[in-house]
Symmetry: C2
Subunit: 216 residues, 2 copies
């Protein structure tokens, strides 16, 4: 069984601060919870992965359907600008990992999977904003890549609580684990988790079912 | 501006037939709508992409969180078995494309993107089951890969209408286009669509904004 890592997604000023270009209402409330989770993870030496979006200033790498909003905002989340920075209270410290992405999922054409494998991480605890987009996109890819995934229900958030809850519901339905920040902190250093891969491998070895015909 | 393709996802017996291992309630109602869309697309020579899941018989490529359900069903969606086949009424015909996937998204570690690019397709009309999982996963990846995406609101479905509607809502919110099957058919051969890429390219050429510093 591998390690568990804490992943913090898109807690950048332009997504979180009141009045910011791509503000997700409620992000600051989520930030308080993530700060608690982050401090606890640091105390226990758990790997921390900060994932965030940087766009190029000319918008050449902005999502097709987000480009108009990017232009209207006069550019947003551009590397090197203040508003693209991670919230002061969640600033990465030495020893933590930084993943830059241009899309919804932390895994979409990034080095995230390479890095987690190298670190021996097979379980991620996901926090950040917002639930229907970057959180969910990341969770779906992590599931597809055989990671065990836990979402902190109060360490993630969306524009409305209705959308947040509907997305938690869908994620639960595909087998994603749910936990509050308090439950996460109290469980450290042994965060509850499934270990599907071990069970599946054992099954495969014991049952010796022919996986497929030997010709296509 | 490129071509539009009709994509049909996971309309396999094991997802659709009443009592099947992974039945999505309401899938057969959706199948009727997809049949109408498919016939219209064929009449107009629109490329058709059939996407479906095949698992290996030993479960070695089933999603971690679906493996227990796979075993409980005594295997499901295994290549070569009847229940893994596409519904009779939606059977592919010569000239159409087949994409086998093992995960939610049609694009996840498949040749789907390669194929669409080669065909000159930059807009996909998505149908199939079920909305929160394979439909949404595919839509998110397609958006990330710069495709224009339209979802047929009655050519897709989920276990409950509540889940279906909540997912359509989230997709609309990131700029995914919505259409009924009837609207799609009536619009042929010129399916309404956005053309974000052209506009963005023009902007980039005209504005000449320095995209990023010349050193990292």
């Amino acid at each position: 069984m591998g390690k568990t890592a804490l992943m913090i997604i898109d807690m950048q000023k332009d997504f979180c601060l009141p009045g910011a270009a791509f503000e997700v209402y409620g992000a600051m409330k989520v930030a308080d919870k993530i700060k608690e989770a982050l401090e606890a993870a640091r105390k226990h030496g758990m790997p921390v992965i900060h994932v965030f979006r940087y766009y190029r200033a000319d918008g050449s790498d902005v999502e097709l359907t987000r480009y108009d909003g990017f232009v209207k905002a006069g550019g947003s989340l551009v590397r090197g600008t203040e508003c693209a920075e991670i919230l002061d209270e969640l600033k990465p410290i030495d020893g933590e990992y930084l993943i830059v992405k241009q899309r919804w999922s932390a895994f979409f054409q990034t080095e995230c999977d390479l890095l987690l494998r190298r670190l021996g991480v097979d379980h991620i605890v996901v926090t950040g904003v917002q639930t229907p987009n970057c959180i969910r996109g990341t969770v779906w890819d992590a599931n597809s890549l055989d990671y065990e995934v836990t979402v902190l229900t109060d360490g993630t958030g969306a524009k409305t609580d209705e959308v947040h809850q509907a997305n938690l519901y869908d994620m639960k339905n595909i087998g994603i684990m749910m936990m509050t920040t308090e439950e996460f902190i109290n469980s450290l250093p042994n965060v509850p988790r499934e270990n599907h891969v071990e069970k599946i491998r054992k099954d495969i070895e014991e049952k010796k079912i022919v996986p497929e015909p030997s010709s296509y």
